[in-house]
C-alpha cells in the first residue's frame, strides 16, 4: 500500500461536510492540489452526503476556472473503504495530474500576492449564501423537480451557477481591492483585469447594497470606498 509522500490527509466524517472554502483555503495555504474522496455514489453512510459534496466540488472547480487557476488542482473521487488499491491509484493519478499542471502559484514569489487575493475573493464568494443555497438544491431540482414541480435541466442550473459564481467572484475581488484603499473604476479594472464597463456595473450594484460608497470625485473620476 505504498503511495506518494506528498499527500496530507484531513479526516471528515462525510464528504458532505467538505465546504468549498476548505478546499480553497488549502490551495491558498500552498497546496498544489486537493483531492476529495468520498464513498461510492449510492453508498453514502449519511444517505447522500457524497452527492452534495460532488455539487460543491463542481462549483469549486468552476470557481477556479473563473479565477484563472487550473481546475485540475481539485478532484473528487468515490471509493469505498474496502478499495485500498483504488485509493492508491487515485492518489497516484491525482499527483501526476497536479505535477503536470505545475507547482502552486501561491509558492511563486511574483504571483503569490495576487493569487492569494484571488483565492480570498473565491473564499468570500463561496461563503455567499445564494451560491450555497443553489448548490444545495441543485440535485433535487434536477431529479425531483423545483417548487413548480418542473425538473430543471442540468445545463440550465449549471448556467445559473456559472453566472452567480462569476458575479460573486468579481464583486469580492472589487471589495478586496477597495479594502486596501479608495480607488476608481479604472484602477480596479487594471488591477483585477476585468473590463472597466463590467467593474462599473458591479460597483453600482455594491453601492446599492450599501457595501461601498463614493469616497470622493476628483477631476471627474469617482473613487469608491468600503462602508
Amino acid at each position: 500500500m505504498q503511495h506518494p509522500t506528498n499527500t496530507r490527509t484531513i479526516r471528515v466524517l462525510c464528504t458532505g461536510q467538505v465546504d468549498p472554502t476548505y478546499v480553497l483555503k488549502a490551495l491558498k495555504n500552498g497546496a498544489d492540489g486537493v483531492l476529495v474522496i468520498g464513498c461510492r455514489l449510492g453508498e453514502c453512510h449519511y444517505i447522500n452526503g457524497n452527492y452534495q459534496a460532488r455539487e460543491k466540488i463542481d462549483m469549486t472547480k468552476i470557481m477556479l476556472e473563473k479565477a484563472g487557476i487550473s481546475s485540475k488542482r481539485v478532484e473528487m473521487r468515490f471509493i469505498s473503504s474496502a478499495e485500498g488499491n483504488k485509493y492508491i491509484e487515485a492518489v497516484k493519478e491525482f499527483t501526476d495530474t497536479v505535477k503536470s499542471v505545475g507547482p502552486s502559484p501561491v509558492r511563486s514569489k511574483e504571483k503569490c500576492e495576487s493569487i492569494k487575493r484571488i483565492l480570498d475573493a473565491l473564499i468570500a464568494a463561496a461563503s455567499e449564501f445564494r451560491l450555497r443555497a443553489i448548490v444545495a438544491k441543485k440535485k433535487k431540482m434536477i431529479e425531483e423537480g423545483n417548487v413548480y414541480n418542473e425538473k430543471i435541466p442540468q445545463e440550465e442550473i449549471e448556467k445559473v451557477i456559472d453566472n452567480a459564481v462569476n458575479t460573486e467572484f468579481v464583486r469580492k475581488l472589487i471589495v478586496s481591492c477597495l479594502k486596501e484603499k479608495p480607488q476608481s473604476c479604472m484602477d480596479i479594472a487594471d488591477k483585477i483585469e476585468v473590463p472597466s464597463a463590467l467593474v462599473l456595473s458591479h460597483l453600482s450594484y455594491l453601492r446599492r447594497k450599501n457595501i461601498i460608497d463614493v469616497d470622493r470625485v476628483k477631476e471627474r473620476v469617482p473613487y469608491y470606498k468600503i462602508i
Binding site: 443555497a133 473620476v221 469617482p222
Partner: protein, 912 residues
C-alpha cells in the same frame, strides 16, 4: 372581455413589499426598468415606489429553488398560482397602451451596441436619475468617469424615409433639451451639443425652456450626422456631420446620446386585432381628425401615444377625454357598480382624558435595521396619556389595520399615533382604519421615523433611535390635545357653465349635456364657431365647415344646453359646486343670473395681425387665415405664378416668444392646396424650424415631393420684403447656397401665429385664476394637470390654454368634461376638516388675513350679532385649504387651523 391574469407567484394580500425575498434570490437578470443597465433578482419590484408594492417572480429567470418562500415572513410566496382568465363585464374600453422607444441598434452608423459610450436617451434618463444604475452620478458606461462633453443626436429612427419611421416622434426634442439641462445641473461645466434638423419646441412654454437651455450654454447645431467613430484608447466618440452651410465637420465627445423616437410595439397590433380596432400604416390606432379619441370600434376609445406620438400633457388630456366619452356612453349606469364604504357609529370622546395607542413600525428592515424599535416602544410606554403600545413588522399591512381596529376597541383608545413613514402617503390609510373602528379620523397623528430617522441616519443607529424617541414624544404630546373634527359637506348645483362657443366650448357643452348635466354656454359673438368659422379644410382634407354646421345643429337640438349669444359674463362669485354667474346680453344690456357647479373656460384665441412685411399696406400681403378663405372660395385668387410664405412672423421673438404650434402645419396645408389648384405655381416657405410634429410630418414630406421649396432663415437674418411697381420682392440670405436669394411673388403669405383673447384678463380676475406671461390661462400643473386650474371646479380647454390643432382642442374639451364630471357626479362635496377657524371675539377685523389668503377663503364681513353690528373675518370653509397663512399673520391670534392649532404645534415645540 376576457383578461388573462398572469401569476405573480406572490399573494398580493400578504406581500408587504419588504424585499427580504429579493435579498436571498440566487438568480439575477437584466434590469429592464433601468434600461438594461443594472441587475435585478428573479423576484423583484421594478422600483421602490412601485404601485402596487408587491413582489413578482420573473418566471423567465426563476429556477424554482424555493428560497424566497423560505425567507418570506409574511408567507406570501405562492408557487401554485396559475395563469387564470377573468371574464369582465364591461361597458366600454379605453386603450392606453402607449408606445415603446425605437430600437436603435440596427442603425449601425451611430455605433450603438458597439461603442459603450453611445447610449439611448432612455438610458441617459436612467443615468441621470438618483435611483438609476449609477445612483445619481453621471458616468460614462465604458470607464465610470464623468464625461467632459455630451452630444445629443436628434431624430434617431424618426423623420426618416430610409431608416426608421417617417413620422416625427414629437417628444424627443424636448426630452433631449431637458436631459441636457439636468445633466448640466449635475456636472458643472459639462459641454453639451444637440445635433438637430429642426427644434420642435411646439408646445406651451416649450420655446422658453429651449431659450433657458441656450442661456445655460447648451449648443444647438443644425446639421445632419453622418457617422460616429470611437477612439479605441480614450473611448471618446468622433461625430462627423454636415453643418448648416453644407460643409463636413467633425467634433469629439465623451458620450453620445441617441434621441430615439417612439414606435408601437408588436403587442399593440395583437391587441388591436383582438379588439377589432383598425391601425394606421405606422401601427398607431386609426382615429378621425374630428374624433381623435374614438377607434374604429364603437365603445372602444384610445388615448396617449398609441393614438400617435405625443408628450405627457397631451396624453393626460386625451386620457381624461377618453374617460368622458366612455362614461358618456354608459351615463345611465353611473354609480351602479361602485360600493360605498360604511362606517360604524362614532365613539364619543368628549370629556374623557386621552387614552393614546401608539403603533411603532419596523417597516421590515427599513426602520428596524437602523432604529431600535423595541427601545422606542418601551420608551413610549412611559409617556403621559399612552395606555397601549404595539410594534408591527409593517403597520401599513392589511392585517395590521385589523390589529389597530381591535386594539382601539379593546383598550378604548381615543387617540392613535403611528410611528412609521410619511403621512403624505399613509395618513389616509390609518385615518380610514380609525374611522372603521368608530374613531374620528382627526384623532390620529403620525411620526415619521423612517424618512427622518432610519433612512437619513443609517450610520449612527443610536442617534437615530434617540431621534425617533423624540419624534414620537412630540407627536404624542400633540395627540393628547387632538379633538374630533367634522368634515363639512355641502350641496352642489349640477349645472355647468362653459365660457366661449368655439370648437372647444361647443364640444365641452355637448359633452356635459350628454353626461346628463344642464349647461349654460356663453358666446361673445353673434354666432357659435369661433376660429372654426375661418377654417375650411384640414391637412388630411376633412371639411371643417361641415363639422361646424353639425356642431351648431347638435347644440341647437340639445335641450340641456342654453346658449347665450352676443353675451358676456359680468360677475362670477362662489366656489366649487356653487358658482353664481351674471350674464349680460350685449345688445339689450339685460342681465340674467345662473347657478353652476363648475366652470369650463374656453375663451379661445385669434390670429395675430402682423405689422411687418408690408401687411396692411399691400393687398397682396395676406395672412394664412386670409389665404385659406381665398383658397376655399375659389373665385378670390387669380392664378398665381409664385407665392412666398413666411413663418414665425412676430412669433418666437421679443413680445411673443412662444410658438403657435399650428402655423407650420397650416402653411403646409395651404401650400399643398395651392399646388392642387395651381400646379404650375411656385411655392416657397421661409421658416425657422418646421414643426410638423407627429404624423403631420408626412404632409411636410408630401409638400417637398410636390416641389414646394422650404428655405430656412435665422431669427437675426430675416427676409427683406420690398415692393416695386406692384411686384413684391423677397430677399433672403441662403446659408446653403451662400448667396442672396431673390424671389418675386404674386402673394406674400404671413404666418403670424395666435394671440389670446383680450377678455382672458377679465375672466382671470373674475375667476381668480392665473394667466401665463403670454396671456394664456395657466394650468395647475404643466404635465399632469393640463386641464385643471389650481382652484377646484374650474377647467380650461382649447386655445385659451395655448394654441393648438383642432383634434387637440376636441380632446382637451372632452377632458374638461371628464374633470367636471368628477365634481358634478357627486351628491355632496366634502371639504377637509383641517381648515381655518376664526374666534370672532378676538378678531379685530384688520383684514390682514384677507390680504394673505391666496384662495380668497377668508373675508372681513359685517354682521348683526347680539352685541350689535360687528365686523370680523369669516372663513368660507369650502375654499379654505388649511395652509395657515392667515393664522400666522393674525395679530390677535384669532385664527387657528383645526387639527394644527397653535396649542398643538406649541405642544410639539415644547416637547422636543
Amino acid at each position: 372581455m376576457k383578461v388573462i391574469r398572469k401569476p405573480r407567484y406572490v399573494d398580493p394580500s400578504k406581500c408587504t413589499g419588504c424585499g427580504l425575498c429579493a435579498q436571498y434570490c440566487p438568480v439575477e437578470s437584466i434590469d429592464s426598468y433601468n434600461a438594461g443597465m443594472g441587475i435585478v433578482p428573479g423576484i423583484f419590484v421594478e422600483y421602490q415606489q412601485a404601485v402596487p408594492l408587491i413582489y413578482t417572480i420573473n418566471r423567465d429567470v426563476c429556477i424554482g429553488c424555493g428560497l424566497c418562500a423560505q425567507y418570506c415572513e409574511a408567507d406570501a410566496v405562492d408557487y401554485t398560482q396559475k395563469e387564470r382568465t377573468d371574464v369582465l363585464d364591461i361597458g366600454a374600453v379605453i386603450i392606453a397602451t402607449g408606445t415603446e422607444t425605437y430600437d436603435v441598434e440596427p442603425l449601425t452608423e451611430y455605433g450603438y451596441g458597439r461603442y459603450r459610450n453611445v447610449v439611448s436617451s432612455i438610458e441617459f434618463e436612467r443615468i441621470l436619475s438618483a435611483s438609476g444604475p449609477f445612483r445619481g452620478l453621471v458616468l460614462r458606461p465604458s470607464d465610470g468617469v464623468e464625461p467632459k462633453s455630451v452630444a445629443f443626436i436628434q431624430c434617431v429612427g424618426s423623420r426618416s424615409l430610409v431608416k426608421g419611421n417617417e413620422y416625427c416622434s414629437s417628444a424627443c426634442c424636448m426630452y433631449a433639451v431637458k436631459e441636457a439641462v439636468v445633466a448640466k445641473e449635475h456636472l458643472h461645466g459639462l459641454d453639451i451639443s444637440i445635433f438637430f434638423m429642426d427644434i420642435r419646441a411646439y408646445g406651451k412654454d416649450f420655446d422658453k425652456y429651449v431659450e433657458r437651455a441656450k442661456d445655460s450654454g447648451v449648443k444647438f447645431i443644425r446639421s445632419r450626422v453622418s457617422n460616429i467613430k470611437e477612439n479605441e484608447n480614450t473611448k471618446d466618440l468622433r461625430i462627423t456631420y454636415e453643418s448648416d452651410d453644407g460643409k463636413m465637420q467633425t467634433n469629439t465627445f465623451g458620450m453620445v446620446v441617441l434621441s430615439h423616437g417612439l414606435c408601437t410595439p408588436p403587442s399593440s397590433s395583437e391587441l388591436a386585432e383582438k379588439l377589432g380596432v383598425e391601425l394606421d400604416r405606422f401601427g398607431f390606432c386609426r382615429t378621425g381628425e374630428f374624433t381623435p379619441l374614438e377607434t374604429s370600434q364603437p365603445g372602444i376609445f384610445v388615448s396617449g401615444t398609441f393614438q400617435g406620438p405625443k408628450d405627457i400633457p397631451e396624453t393626460v388630456m386625451q386620457s381624461s377625454g377618453a374617460s368622458a366619452l366612455s362614461s358618456e356612453l354608459l351615463v345611465t349606469e353611473r354609480g351602479s357598480l361602485i360600493t360605498k364604504a360604511e362606517y360604524p357609529p362614532k365613539i364619543d370622546v368628549m370629556g374623557i382624558g386621552p387614552r393614546i395607542g401608539v403603533f411603532v413600525c419596523y417597516c421590515g428592515i427599513n426602520i428596524g435595521g437602523y432604529v431600535d424599535v423595541p427601545a422606542v416602544s418601551k420608551y413610549v410606554e412611559s409617556l403621559e396619556g399612552v395606555v397601549f403600545v404595539d410594534t408591527n413588522l409593517f403597520t401599513c399591512s392589511q392585517d395590521s389595520q385589523e390589529t389597530i381596529k381591535q386594539k382601539i376597541i379593546e383598550h378604548k383608545l381615543n387617540r392613535v399615533v403611528v410611528a412609521s413613514c410619511t403621512p403624505r402617503t399613509h395618513e389616509p390609510l390609518f385615518q380610514e382604519t380609525c374611522e372603521s373602528a368608530g374613531l374620528n379620523r382627526y384623532l390620529f397623528s403620525m411620526a415619521n421615523i423612517r424618512d427622518q430617522c432610519s433612512w437619513v441616519h443609517m450610520q449612527t443607529k443610536e442617534k437615530a433611535t434617540e431621534k425617533a424617541k423624540d419624534l414620537v414624544r412630540m407627536t404624542v404630546a400633540k395627540a393628547r390635545l387632538l379633538e374630533p373634527l367634522e368634515r363639512l359637506t355641502f350641496d352642489l348645483t349640477k349645472r355647468g357653465l362653459v365660457i366661449g362657443g368655439g370648437l372647444a366650448g361647443m364640444t365641452a357643452a355637448l359633452g356635459l349635456a350628454r353626461q346628463g348635466y344642464e349647461t349654460i354656454l356663453v358666446e361673445r359673438e353673434n354666432e357659435l364657431g369661433g376660429n372654426l368659422t375661418h377654417i375650411h379644410y384640414t391637412l388630411a382634407g376633412e371639411d371643417v365647415q361641415e363639422l361646424l354646421k353639425s356642431l351648431r345643429k347638435q347644440i341647437k337640438d340639445e335641450p340641456k344646453i342654453t346658449v347665450h349669444m352676443n353675451s358676456e359674463i359680468t360677475e362670477i362669485t362662489g366656489f366649487i359646486g356653487n358658482y353664481k354667474t351674471k350674464i349680460k346680453d350685449k345688445d339689450t344690456g339685460k342681465e340674467s343670473e345662473t347657478e353652476n357647479g363648475i366652470v369650463i373656460v374656453a375663451t379661445g384665441g385669434k390670429e395675430n395681425k402682423p405689422t411687418e412685411y408690408l401687411y396692411g399696406k399691400n393687398e397682396k400681403v395676406i395672412t394664412q387665415q386670409e389665404l385659406e378663405v381665398k383658397l376655399a372660395l375659389n373665385s378670390q385668387l387669380s392664378t398665381p405664378k409664385s407665392i412666398v410664405m413666411i413663418q414665425c412672423v412676430g412669433s418666437r421673438e421679443n413680445e411673443k416668444p412662444y410658438c403657435s404650434r399650428y402655423c407650420c402645419s397650416q402653411a403646409v396645408k395651404n401650400a399643398l392646396k395651392i399646388k392642387e389648384k395651381f400646379p404650375e405655381a411656385s411655392v416657397y416657405v421661409l421658416y425657422r424650424d418646421i414643426r410638423t410634429y407627429g404624423t403631420k410630418e408626412v404632409y411636410y414630406n408630401k409638400a417637398r415631393e410636390k416641389g414646394i421649396l422650404f428655405i430656412h432663415y435665422d431669427e437675426d437674418k430675416k427676409p427683406i420684403v420690398t415692393e416695386k411697381n406692384g411686384v413684391i420682392n423677397v430677399v433672403l440670405k441662403d446659408p446653403v447656397l451662400k448667396r442672396d436669394l431673390s424671389i418675386d411673388c404674386d402673394y406674400l403669405v404671413l404666418s403670424p401665429g395666435m394671440v389670446p383673447q383680450e377678455d382672458n384678463e377679465t375672466y382671470a380676475k373674475m375667476l381668480k385664476v392665473p394667466l401665463n406671461q403670454d396671456g394664456f390661462f395657466l394650468e395647475a400643473h404643466m404635465k399632469l394637470r393640463p386641464v385643471d386650474f389650481a382652484t377646484d371646479g374650474i377647467y380650461m380647454c382649447g386655445i385659451c390654454h395655448s394654441p393648438k390643432m383642432l383634434d387637440e382642442s376636441i380632446s382637451q374639451a372632452n377632458a374638461a368634461v371628464s374633470r367636471a364630471c368628477t365634481i358634478l357626479s357627486k351628491d355632496r362635496i366634502q371639504a377637509e376638516g383641517t381648515i381655518a377657524h376664526v374666534d370672532i371675539y378676538k378678531c379685530a377685523a384688520c383684514g390682514t388675513c384677507e390680504a394673505v389668503c391666496t384662495y380668497g377663503a377668508v373675508k372681513v364681513v359685517e354682521n348683526e350679532t347680539r352685541t350689535g353690528i360687528e365686523r370680523y373675518a369669516e372663513v368660507t370653509e369650502a375654499l379654505c385649504k388649511g395652509c395657515g397663512a392667515c393664522a400666522s399673520s393674525c395679530r390677535m391670534s384669532a385664527i387657528d387651523i383645526k387639527g394644527y392649532a397653535d396649542k398643538d404645534i406649541v405642544a410639539m415645540i415644547d416637547n422636543f
